[in-house]
Symmetry: C2
Subunit: 120 residues, 2 copies
Amino acid sequence: MKSLLLVAHGSRRQASNDEVRELTRRLAARAQQDYAFVDCGFLELAEPSIPEGIQRCIDAGSREVVVLPYFLSAGRHVAEDIPAEVEIKQQEYPGVSIRIAPYLGSDEGVLDTLLHCATP
Amino acid sequence: MKSLLLVAHGSRRQASNDEVRELTRRLAARAQQDYAFVDCGFLELAEPSIPEGIQRCIDAGSREVVVLPYFLSAGRHVAEDIPAEVEIKQQEYPGVSIRIAPYLGSDEGVLDTLLHCATP
């Protein structure tokens, strides 16, 4: 059983965190064929944390977790901080496969979405 | 003649700013049928600024500029700071149409792109 964990930075502004939670609900509806459980986690400033989010996936029965960084650039958060948070749970659960997917901004699909935004 | 200005936050990390500039080049190649000129601008920490970016569009001959926020959430930057920067140039050039497009994170296309990222 496979889970998807959307990982965002987290914000002091609650509406931004709620925007991520709402996106997660829409993602869950779209991803339900491939992922039995979809949730979100935050690097900082909001809850659940990334390790807590991974724990929720495991508690839901997952042996496979895909961590999906909702980030636009390949900065320290994507390159170091997210892998470090994931590693905490990977060490705790060596039998669970936890994979970090490419971050949003690395995907060519962003170009199509930007062009769609630009079109009146 | 129409221009497209991709507007990003800007980062202390130069590689992140270069990532935006590289995305702008790919966007220009994809958007050339609709936009004769495509450039980027940064809210802070990198150059050109948003007013400077709009000026480049006007200097290139544009009477119509679409400002496209490369942002994931509808925070203060999207709601207040970008409009305030745009307003500076709008007042200076009342004859130029400057429109702010919806921000990236508001578009449903982000869901498709996220699902594409998650797929191995």
